[in-house]
């Protein structure tokens, strides 16, 4: 059970505090509800580029890292489709420095041409290092391209093309900042060896005078997929690869929780069904995976497999459908079901050890509607039934409405 207090400032900033006096540290997590979901098709990768620019100096702080490092703290950030998350972990006595730094860059960035020029180059190198210069690096692009046709989830956070990043202008940067980096679009969570009332006072002191100005724009909804889609590509990779994707509900829908348990049965751990049947028992695949994406807008359920030499993508696809059919038939033993539920319980315990994780989870759950989900989400997962899984798989995992990526090795 994670106890916390929550307060909303008059400018719309939500502040959450969890006291943990077992650590000398404190994590300050600032989450902005802006990600690649908020980008325009001609300017993709921009939310992520902006994450880099947030370290390029703000109106009163020319060097963010220098001041943070003087406290003995560490910091970083990451961008997803739905949000951009910034955190500092500092010795608790120096927590005010994190408020000073985060509030100043929420107030305004310095917008120096050099920062934009350098970070464009850095992000382009990141694009190469993480996507273009590694086998299978374009899979994320292809999977999104085949499964989404309208919604911005059709491109990954790194962006569609290096050129989009290369041509970003200072005007684009300023507009993006003004629209999205505002207290009424942010969630501040603090976890660690702190006093709640003092944290609320610091929040008021440093963030209270920043005016609300977030601009919310309509995001095109993805139409229902009524047909099967196939994409076949060949690449210089060592093995074939298969992905099958279906649309599911959003993060708050009951289907997300049912899908989460269903994919755990399929692929969580070495004892999971796909690992046992496709990898261990029969040596048909070297890797398998099953995941659900919990997003603000409707996400996806995805199966992935890498066949061993001598086994075709089509053969593996059929085997995956057979495994799904067993779930659709409700063929799940009590022991197997309890195993998955036990893992939900232990993951909750493991996740709640680290103050950085706790602060990030509190901010994220608040973005989804209620920080109390940090305690109630595991219960919702525990309450999923076998009948619900059967119904979910029957409704969702229809091969005639799947998006299938056949990624063939040229070798």
């Amino acid at each position: 059970m994670i106890d916390f207090q929550r307060k909303k400032l008059s400018n719309g900033l939500t502040v959450i505090v969890h006291e943990d006096h077992s650590t000398p540290l404190c994590a300050v997590n600032t989450l902005y509800k802006v990600g690649s979901r908020n980008e325009q098709p001609h300017l993709t990768g921009f939310a992520h580029l902006f994450e880099h620019l947030m370290f390029g100096g703000s109106v009163n702080v020319p060097d963010f890292d220098k001041i943070l490092q003087a406290t003995g703290g560490e910091n970083n950030a990451y961008t997803t489709a739905d949000y951009t998350n910034y955190y500092e972990v500092v010795p608790a006595q120096n927590v005010e420095t994190a408020f000073y730094l985060e509030s100043d860059r929420m107030l305004s960035l310095a917008f120096t041409p050099k920062s934009l020029e350098v970070q464009r180059k850095v992000v382009i190198e990141e694009f190469h290092q993480r996507y273009l210069n590694r086998p299978y690096g374009d899979i994320g692009h292809l999977m999104r391209d085949i499964s989404y046709k309208v919604h911005p989830y059709r491109w990954p956070t790194i962006g569609l093309d290096v050129e989009h990043i290369a041509k970003a202008t200072m005007d684009d940067v300023r507009q993006f900042f003004f629209d999205n980096y505002a207290p009424d679009n942010a969630y501040l969570a603090v976890a660690g060896n702190v006093d709640t009332e003092k944290i609320f006072a610091l929040a008021e002191k440093w963030f209270g005078s920043i005016e609300r100005h977030a601009v919310r724009r309509e995001i095109a909804a993805e139409p229902e997929q009524t047909e099967r889609r196939e994409m076949r590509v060949e690449r210089e990779v060592p093995s074939d690869y298969l992905a099958i994707i279906w649309h599911i509900g959003d993060r708050l829908s009951h289907d997300f929780y049912v899908g989460d348990i269903a994919t755990d049965i399929l692929a969580y751990g070495s004892s999971s069904r796909l690992m046992q049947r496709l990898c261990i028992d029969n040596n048909i695949c070297s890797e398998v995976n099953a995941t659900v994406g919990g997003n603000i807008d409707p996400g996806t359920l995805m199966l992935q497999a890498v066949p061993m030499p001598g086994h075709s993508l089509e053969e593996v696809e059929d085997l995956l459908y057979k495994q799904l059919q067993q779930l659709a038939n409700g063929d799940i033993s009590d022991y197997e079901f309890q195993k998955v539920k036990n893992n939900v319980y232990s993951r909750q315990l493991f996740d709640n050890v680290d103050v950085k994780n706790k602060a990030a989870s509190l901010a994220l759950y608040e973005m989804f509607g209620d920080a109390h989900m940090i305690n109630t989400d595991p219960l919702r997962l525990q309450n999923v039934t076998i009948a619900e899984i059967s119904d979910f798989v029957q409704r969702t995992c229809d091969p005639s409405k799947a998006s299938v990526l056949y990624y063939k090795s040229k070798q």
Binding site: T71, N94, Y100, R130, M308, S346, F350
Partner: protein, 426 residues
């Protein structure tokens, strides 16, 4: 509210060394050591077994690591499926890894399930059967992973570097091959397990909220001492760098990866803690010289780092970065310039204070929770250091001077001391 002066940063308070608990220590009848650290806010128990069964004990490539992994693929009473199903039923997290010196098995589980999960692990420690079918599958999967790695510049550059650092005829310079993976025989694994997964040199670290029942189980895994000697670990003398850039072409790459390597010192060497500070300042954190110059000033890379890595007998200073293929020579030149700058110019007081703060924060963050604390204190014990080694590190940070850093740079960071390998589209 209106009087808030945003041009002034809040006062920074000194970073102090956190209060650190110490292990309760027991030497067991078998000679194994049991270390227990109690605490934590969650009802979790973590157990780490560290066997004296690392790569230095092997006489065939991947034997140590394959034996370790295969111990969990079948016992006299459990199949591979039964092992993974039981461990996962108890919500346990089981991980294994090995390095030059040790083989480590880490088990974490909710305290209410830890005894049951441990029972399975103990069965695997004592009664593995190394089934041929699972070994064949394991080799096939490893071979697939190798195919993937051989297409990655970050991996291939390591193979190039091995051939530069180690002399002809030395095992360390031989890259992993499909042939070596498939050559391993079940009998070799059985023999390796029998000889090296034994109580001498075994340390068991327990952290979190263990109950007495689980500690009793750990005390009784091995009841008798054994006397299996380990082969002497005598690394060969390294090749001297030749000053050249050695390249390996990977036509499908869009970047290339640079790796520079020089000899470092192990944690037992008197220079180790001071040299760690120098390496942090050079390329060990976001505010380091390499990151500031090559990433934040010139935008030449997404990431660049310097590190000091060691085992019980060897140590290296590594510098690594992936960059545009057209610019790798420029980046190597810049790295060398930064080395030379540290040799030629004393570090400013401001920069020194910054790296000191970083180092103090890094040390403090290691003790942020009971499990990190146990891993770190356990690391000291494995490395045959004092459990108080953190105080040595802390004192080193307090007392380091610009002159000492300059002296260390002159000794360890001269550009001519580094082998240079590049893999990618060169």
């Amino acid at each position: 509210m209106n009087s808030l002066d945003r041009t002034k940063a809040p006062q920074v308070y000194p970073i102090t060394l956190p209060e650190i608990g110490y292990f309760e220590r027991e030497t067991l009848a078998s000679g194994a050591k049991l270390y227990t650290l109690r605490g934590g806010s969650q009802p979790i128990t973590q157990i780490i077994f560290s066997f004296d069964a690392g790569r230095r004990c092997q006489d065939a490539q991947t034997l140590a690591n394959t034996t370790l992994n295969m111990m969990f693929e079948g016992t006299t009473t459990r199949t591979t499926a039964q092992i993974s199903t039981e461990v996962e039923y108890y919500g346990a997290d089981l991980n294994v890894d090995s390095n030059m010196d040790n083989a480590r098995i880490s088990l974490s589980a909710p305290t209410k399930f830890i005894s049951q999960a441990l029972e399975v692990v103990v069965d695997c420690l004592l009664h593995p059967t190394f089934p041929q079918k699972e070994l064949t599958r394991s080799k096939d999967v490893r071979s697939e992973q190798l195919k993937y790695n051989l297409m990655r510049s970050e991996y291939v550059v390591g193979d190039v570097m091995k051939s530069l650092v180690w002399p002809e005829g030395c095992d360390y310079r031989i890259p992993l091959t499909h042939k070596a993976i498939h050559a391993l025989k079940r009998e070799q694994l059985i023999e390796f397990h029998k000889n090296f997964f034994t109580p001498e040199g075994l340390s068991i670290f327990v952290a979190g909220q263990p109950d007495e029942a689980v500690l009793d189980m750990l005390r009784n895994i091995y009841t008798q001492p054994t006397h299996n000697e380990r082969p002497a670990y005598i690394p060969p003398k390294r090749n001297a760098p030749d000053g050249k850039v050695h390249t390996k072409k990977l036509p499908q790459s869009t970047q290339c990866t640079i790796l520079m390597k020089a000899e470092g010192v192990t944690a037992k060497h008197p220079d180790y803690t001071d040299l760690s500070i120098l390496i942090a300042l050079f390329g060990g954190y976001f505010g380091s010289r390499l990151m500031k110059n090559i990433r934040e000033d010139k935008g030449l890379t997404y990431g660049i780092s310097a590190s000091l890595i060691y085992d019980s007998k060897t140590a290296s200073i590594n510098v690594q970065s992936s960059v545009d293929s057209e610019r790798y020579k420029l980046v190597i030149d810049e790295i060398k310039k930064e080395m030379q700058r540290l040799i030629d110019e004393p570090v400013s007081t401001e920069e020194l204070e910054q790296v000191k703060s970083y180092c103090r924060g890094s040390v403090a963050s290691v003790y942020s929770d009971i499990f990190n604390t146990a891993r770190n204190l356990g690391g000291f014990i494995i490395d045959d250091l004092s459990e108080d080694f953190v105080k040595v590190q802390w004192n080193s940070v307090d007392n380091i001077t610009p002159a000492r850093l300059q002296q260390l740079a002159t000794q360890y960071l001269r550009p001519e001391l580094f082998h240079i390998a590049v893999a990618g589209n060169v």
